[in-house]
């Protein structure tokens, strides 16, 4: 079985000015295997893959492909060698068709004219091979994220890819879509493609991976057969400490009602009613497109409310803008941190105070001393790892950025928090820290509405679970009665 590996990266180092990002990393890929690359944010996974895909140049070490030493000069060169990457942020052009995207830059053509028919034919063949029945001439912007990903896979196949790198491919997918993706991955494997799979989700690697290599702080810690490995062992390898409980115990007492929604109807919601209590975590489960984010947007004054009423602490409130929601004591941690939660070019301090500058200013002039004091407090309280308040927030890791968003709402004195996918793109250690923070908040009497696509998270954190389906509440479970099967079934039922 020990055939020569397809790819061998040995003693790879990469230095950036002042930083050793990779320190003599070894990585080996066999033909037709799914090799999971695991590690916390900043462990060096992306840097290693960028070297393989030609985006970065290695500072030291050797790469062998099929036993031949190679020097990957640029992304184009990597492609020619049969190495393709599917990034977390998909790189498709929305206004072009599926077929045009797949063959972008390599269109079958005579002179300057593109042979449309040949283009569509070739695309259809590729898509069928992946078990996809979409029309190749459909615009990409009309596809869901999962389908777009398939288009990327098709594109990679059209390049005669031997090594496919997938960076967090499931982060935006629903359970059902993940199943489909995994089926595709298995098919690729049978076709002899080797896959390097980067993911934070431990559950997944047991389903899909053959081997796993763990990186920590720029070094390769271990490579093991997944069949011989357990979850706790992997977590230990990643963080070098035993995480006894992924979901820490909570000690909140549930108090009076702070938020009540009655018959809420918007463009994407129909007659949604529920209530949320002091100290409670109310989990909202459901598939993508079930209306969960729309619900959050409606409560936060972003989406126009057509009918229904929102009560905050017993009082009927008309929430027509985020400002009003904030004045009602509501804070919203959006699903997409970078595009909606943070101003990446501003500093940690400026981001922390964005919703509450008013509090620190008189006559429009900001009292920077008071502001700094408040910011320091939240940086300390939330243990945000940043060299200073002046650090640009774009330079923080995902977990720390999430904490800045959280601090923003603490600073605005919110006591109803809406978390939309609070741990997306955050590594295991930071995840636990965010869960602990949520528990600390509820212990202080904050109420939390938590939207999440990760069922273990919903079940592990919530006191009650609401399941949404096509814009409505499809079911409610107490923490005691909720199981993965029940919740999923409720979310899927036609």
């Amino acid at each position: 079985m020990e055939a020569a590996p397809l790819l061998k990266m040995s003693q790879i180092s990469k230095t950036f000015p002042g930083v050793l990002a990779l320190d003599r990393v070894d990585f080996e890929l066999r033909r037709g295997e799914v090799h999971v690359l695991l590690g916390e944010n900043g462990a060096g996974k992306s840097t290693l893959m960028k070297i393989l895909s030609g985006a970065y140049q290695k500072s030291g070490g050797e790469i062998e492909l099929d036993g031949v030493p190679i020097n990957i000069k640029n992304p184009r060169h990597a492609q020619d060698l049969g190495i393709s990457t599917i990034y977390q942020e998909l790189n498709l052009i929305p206004h072009l068709s599926i077929a045009e995207n797949i063959f972008l830059g390599r269109e079958p053509s005579s002179f300057a004219f593109i042979d449309q028919r040949a283009l569509v034919r070739a695309a259809r063949k590729l898509l069928n091979g992946l078990g996809l029945t979409v029309d190749p001439s459909a615009r990409v912007k009309r596809l869901g994220i999962a389908e777009q990903q398939m288009v990327e896979v098709a594109k990679a196949l059209s390049l005669e890819t031997r090594i496919l790198i997938m960076d967090e491919p499931t982060s935006a997918l629903t359970q059902q879509e993940i199943k489909q993706l995994f089926a595709t991955i298995r098919r690729l494997k049978e076709g002899g493609v080797s896959i390097i799979y980067i993911s934070h989700r431990l559950e997944e690697l047991f389903q899909i991976g053959d081997r796993v290599t763990v990186l920590r702080d720029g070094r390769s810690v271990a490579t093991c057969e997944i069949a011989d490995t357990g979850k706790p062992q992997l977590i230990r390898l990643m963080v070098n400490r035993e995480l006894t409980e992924q979901f820490p115990k909570r000690q909140a007492t549930i108090g009076e009602e702070v938020l009540r929604v009655e018959g809420l109807t918007t463009d994407g919601l129909r007659d949604v009613s529920f209530s949320l209590h002091k100290g409670e975590v109310l989990g909202i489960a459901g598939l993508m497109g079930a209306g969960r984010t729309e619900l959050a947007c409606a409560i936060f004054g972003v989406e126009k409310i057509e009918a229904g009423q929102i009560y905050v602490k017993g009082e009927a409130r008309r929430i027509t803008s985020p400002r009003r929601a904030i004045n009602c004591g509501i804070g919203f941690l959006t699903e997409d941190r970078k595009s909606q939660g943070l101003v990446l070019r501003l500093s940690v301090g400026e981001n922390l105070c964005l919703p509450s500058v008013d509090k620190f200013s008189s006559w429009g002039i900001v009292d920077s001393n008071r502001e700094k004091l408040a910011c320091r407090r939240y940086v300390q309280e939330l243990r945000i790892r940043t060299p200073s308040l002046k650090q640009k927030v774009s330079f923080l890791s995902g977990g720390n950025q999430q904490k800045v968003v959280l601090g923003k709402w603490l600073c605005s004195e919110a006591d109803v928090f809406i978390f939309d996918e609070p741990t997306r793109g955050v590594d295991v250690g930071a995840k636990t820290e965010i869960y602990e923070l949520m528990n600390r908040l509820t212990a202080q009497g904050v109420a939390i509405l938590m939207i999440s696509s990760e069922l273990p998270e919903v079940l592990g954190m919530s006191d009650r679970v609401l399941v949404m389906r096509s814009g409505q509440i499809a079911g409610e479970f107490s923490a005691a009665e909720a199981t993965q099967e029940k919740v999923l079934q409720c979310a899927l039922m036609a």
């Binding site: 400002r323 101003v343 964005l354 900001v366 650090q391």
Partner: protein, 321 residues
């Protein structure tokens, strides 16, 4: 996931090196000109350069605010002309000086606010809204005056251009004052904070409860206000308000802003850079004149300087990442 810690602090330094870079560019330019033509470094010439820079520099303050919000204002030159003729006709009609000045400032501000409302409420792209205003304001100024300049004002009014405080010409004093205020506003006030935030990420800013429409409208109003102020100084200097004044000033103001390191993508930059940018343009013009370079070649040189400055800026930023 990216390299952390030390590299980041370095990029922070690089970012500030950018401002210092612009400044050393200005100083280098000055040294070269001094070597080539001794007349350059006389007090009278330097004051002359500063005075030449004032109009564009003041217009560029408004432009900097607008560009920081990731917008653009193409109408500043036309609005300047329009505000100038409104003020001039008020003076000729015998209005008291303060009233006429206010009329000029108000005209500019209103034009700017209209731009802002078209962009926020009308949801027009800033480029289109202000392109329209550029033509409307210019056309109105021409119609209003029949295309003729309005000339000849009282000594009191002209003092705004000819007067001096501690031997510094009034326009230069005004410019310095405006930059000091703008610096304070951008660094210390809510308006400034929101200006950067809107340019950095408008949606996140909106979701943080900031009234984005209001602040954007105010920023365009400010751009108009500064055009009005520049109109007063220009009219006083020329002793004449011309409906064709301020042609292409929008481009000079954008150039000064961009040379000064403000990103056209918004959210990054500051007014000190813009001031240096405006001075570089003025020094360049002055120096080329002193050297007897033809005005045709001058355009080529200035255009090249803009391109080179931005190329350097982008190279530095890439290295910062």
């Amino acid at each position: 996931m990216r390299p952390n810690g030390i590299a980041l602090r370095q990029s922070f330094l690089l970012h500030h090196a950018r401002q210092l870079g612009t400044l050393s560019g200005l100083l280098a330019l000055g040294l070269v000109l001094w070597a080539l033509t001794p007349h350059f470094l006389t007090l009278s010439n330097l004051l002359n350069v500063a005075e030449q820079a004032t109009i564009i520099a003041i217009v560029a303050v408004g432009m900097t605010f607008v560009i920081l919000t990731a917008g653009i204002d193409l109408s500043v030159g036309s609005v300047l002309a329009f505000a100038g003729v409104v003020m001039a006709s008020a003076l000729h009609a015998g209005a008291p000086l303060p009233f006429a000045l206010l009329a000029g400032l108000a005209t500019g501000t209103v034009c700017g606010l209209v731009n802002g409302l078209l962009i926020t409420l009308g949801r027009l792209p800033p480029f289109i809204a202000t392109l329209g205003m550029m033509s409307v304001a210019r056309g109105t100024a021409l119609m209003y005056t029949g295309g003729r300049p309005i000339s000849g004002f009282s000594e009191n009014f002209r003092w705004l251009a000819t007067g001096e405080v501690l031997r510094i010409p009034i326009p230069v004093v005004v410019m310095i004052g405006i930059y000091a205020i703008a610096f304070f506003v951008l660094t210390r006030t809510k308006l400034g904070r929101y200006t950067y935030a809107i340019g950095g990420n408008e949606e996140a800013t909106h979701l943080s409860g900031v009234n984005v429409r209001l602040y954007k409208t105010v920023v365009y109003g400010l751009a108009g206000l500064f055009s009005g102020l520049a109109a007063i100084l220009l009219t006083a200097r020329l002793n004449s308000a011309q409906p064709i004044a301020g042609m292409m000033y929008e481009l000079d103001a954008i150039a000064a802003t961009v040379i000064g390191g403000t990103s056209l993508l918004g959210g990054e930059g500051n007014v000190l850079g813009t001031l240096i940018g405006a001075l570089i343009m003025a020094v360049l013009r002055n120096g080329l004149n002193l050297l007897g370079v033809s005005s045709f070649l001058q355009q080529v040189v200035i255009g090249s300087v803009i391109i080179i400055a931005v190329l350097i800026d982008m190279a530095l930023k890439r290295r910062g990442k």
